[in-house]
């Protein structure tokens, strides 16, 4: 029998049972749809996170007492570590692979008030003049903290867009005063909106000179202060990041008096490491998704096997007739197998279509640019076809082995 005839014979099989065929493939449809839509979402998230990582500042390295990551953290050991110092920051700034450096000290404030208005969960960071570039912030109006502000310990601050929106919805904040810690600060600049990073707003910030921070928040407590002082470093170029990391490590080990047999008692983050952490998280999501997809494809496959068995029973007489007029067992096997594969393949196609549709809707109504890579479409379709073969082989084989005489006698 020719291949096209085989397809046509198989297609005629479901034309009689359209609803049943549709219900049969629903499991496959849902499975493939889930895979495609989640893959698209992850893809969209990847793009968005990449943009966010970029927005942290290019070529930056964060040096802190400890790093966050996927590994085990010995809290007690870390809390005993020596804080980084401004002198450390100044020494790092002299390294050949390093372009500029800012010390950072942070304090999370429950709320900041201005004339009855309130902005909650605002982070106050003590930074230097270079932080504008190191942290990749852009000033929308006014100016950033200057070297002069830093040296004079000026009581000035630069506020993020979240703070502006909440405290100064209808007025120009420049020149207004905010009470932070135990001092009052004059607002000298407003930052451009930066969005959020891993769900955390990067606009709920107030920058003050690092030197002033120590006066206003003498005893830093809270989650931001746990790391003590941090140093944000900008390498000379992307290629020099690794070199800068090595140089900083060598310098800090020397300054902190570590002998060669001791591990680092400080940590560093590069954007690459942040990417790695993110990839680890999405990797888990990926595995979970594959498990979900596998289960639904399994359920879908069982559905197909079930309906194919029903179909073989219903069509026993047809099988007998086909054999009588010259169909070989192989012809019958291929006919039913083709039906199963077409069923699951169509299910796969519908699933791909719906998955892309969901991705399209998500892209349209949210900022997430969800898009499925082309290979996922083939993967979704291919996998469902394989499911069709796997779960179709048993019913098809059963049909092929029917004795034509008994099959013909069947009513």
């Amino acid at each position: 029998m020719k291949f096209l005839d085989l397809i046509r014979t198989a297609l005629a099989g479901f034309r009689a049972h359209k609803l049943r065929a549709f219900l049969t493939v629903l499991g496959i449809v849902i499975g493939v749809m889930t895979v495609i839509s989640i893959l698209s979402l992850i893809q969209g998230m990847n793009a968005s996170v990449e943009k966010q990582i970029q927005s942290l500042g290019s070529n930056t390295i964060l040096v802190a007492k400890a790093t966050f990551g996927m590994g085990q953290i010995d809290v007690e050991e870390i809390s005993k570590r020596k804080d980084l110092t401004v002198e450390d920051a100044e020494a790092i700034a002299q390294l050949p692979a390093v372009k500029m450096v800012s010390p950072v000290r942070s304090r999370q404030l429950g709320s900041v008030r201005y004339r009855g208005r309130k902005a909650t969960q605002v982070e106050v960071d003590g930074v230097n003049a270079d932080y504008e570039l190191v942290g990749n912030y852009l000033v929308e109006s006014g100016r950033f903290i200057t070297r002069d502000d830093y040296l004079r310990r000026a009581s000035v601050c630069v506020i993020g867009s979240y703070v502006v929106d909440n405290l100064f919805p209808n007025e120009d904040p420049i020149g207004k005063q905010l009470s932070l810690g135990n001092s009052r600060f004059v607002i000298i600049g407003v930052l451009q909106q930066k969005g959020s990073f891993l769900g955390q707003s990067m606009d709920a910030v107030i920058f003050i000179p690092f030197t002033t921070f120590e006066l206003s928040f003498p005893k830093a407590v809270g989650p931001g202060s746990w790391f003590g002082m941090q140093i944000q470093v900008m390498a000379r170029s992307t290629e020099q990041i690794d070199k800068a990391v090595d140089q900083i490590r060598e310098l800090l080990r020397r300054r902190r008096g570590l002998t060669f047999d001791k591990p680092d008692n400080f940590g560093m983050h590069t954007q690459e490491q942040i990417r790695d952490i993110y990839r680890n998280i999405t990797g888990v999501a990926f595995i979970v998704m594959i498990a979900v997809a596998a289960i639904s494809l399994l359920v879908g496959g069982i559905g197909i096997m079930n309906i194919m068995l029903v179909s073989v029973t219903e069509r026993t007489k047809e099988i007998g007739l086909r054999k009588a007029i010259g169909a070989s067992s192989q012809n019958i096997l291929l006919q039913f197998l083709t039906e199963a594969v077409i069923l699951s393949g169509i299910g796969g196609l519908i699933g791909v279509g719906l998955g892309l549709g969901i991705a399209g809707i998500v892209s349209a109504v949210t900022p997430l640019k969800a898009a499925a890579p082309i290979w996922t479409i083939f993967l979704g379709f291919g996998f469902s076809a394989v499911v069709g073969i796997f779960f179709g082989i048993y019913p098809a084989n059963r049909a092929a082995r029917l004795n034509p005489i008994q099959a013909l006698r069947c009513e």
């Binding site: 029998m1 005839d5 005629a12 054999k323 009588a324 007029i325 010259g326 067992s329 012809n331 005489i405």
Partner: protein
Amino acid sequence: MSLIEARSLYKTYELGAHKLNALDGVSLTIEQGEYIAIMGPSGSGKSTLMHIIGCLDTPTSGQYLFKGRDITSLSDLELARLRNAEIGFVFQSFNLLARLSTFRNVEMPMMYAGRNRSEREHKVSAALERVGLSGRRNNRPNELSGGEMQRVAIARALINEPAIILADEPTGNLDSRTGVEIMKLFDDLAQQGNTLILVTHDAGVARHARRIVHMADGRIDLTVGANPAPAESLAGPLGSAQSPSPAPRPLTPDS
């Protein structure tokens, strides 16, 4: 060489402890172009014999030569090919596929023969014309009368130009007038040189054949009519017409 040569066929079914001989030593020779009826009550073994002649089944013992070829040794695939090319079945209940049109039903054996579309189109059209159903090619079986359905089945049986047409109670599901029309069609086919084997318990149907083989208890107990000499020509079944058979001989026990 005879078209069909069966020698001492036995078909034995084991039903628990005792054996049942559905065929109990049947020998039968059928020549090219013969019009023969196998008669007998149910349980006489005529269906079993038909299945073996139609290559749907193989005997437990004995020899069955089809065109000189021993089919007892053939594989499942070879039997399927033989049925496809050489045997046309016509059933009591028509056995048309309900979801396929007349055209598609008739076309089916050609699909299994691997014929291409244009050849199929051409031959199916000719076959439908032959049985007088050219106007019904796109109708489904449920839109046809019983007689029309049986004509579709006959067209399907003829489509691959088989060596024999095996009809199992072809008028069993038809009213008597339609039955007569169908028998007329069979008579015409026989007249044109096709080899026809009718399996029936209806003496009225069997009378159309030139030779009648009676079966009872798995044996052939009586043969009525001529067993003509082996045909000289092995012309195709739709080929040249055979000469009319000789006058019926008196009843003689066969074998």
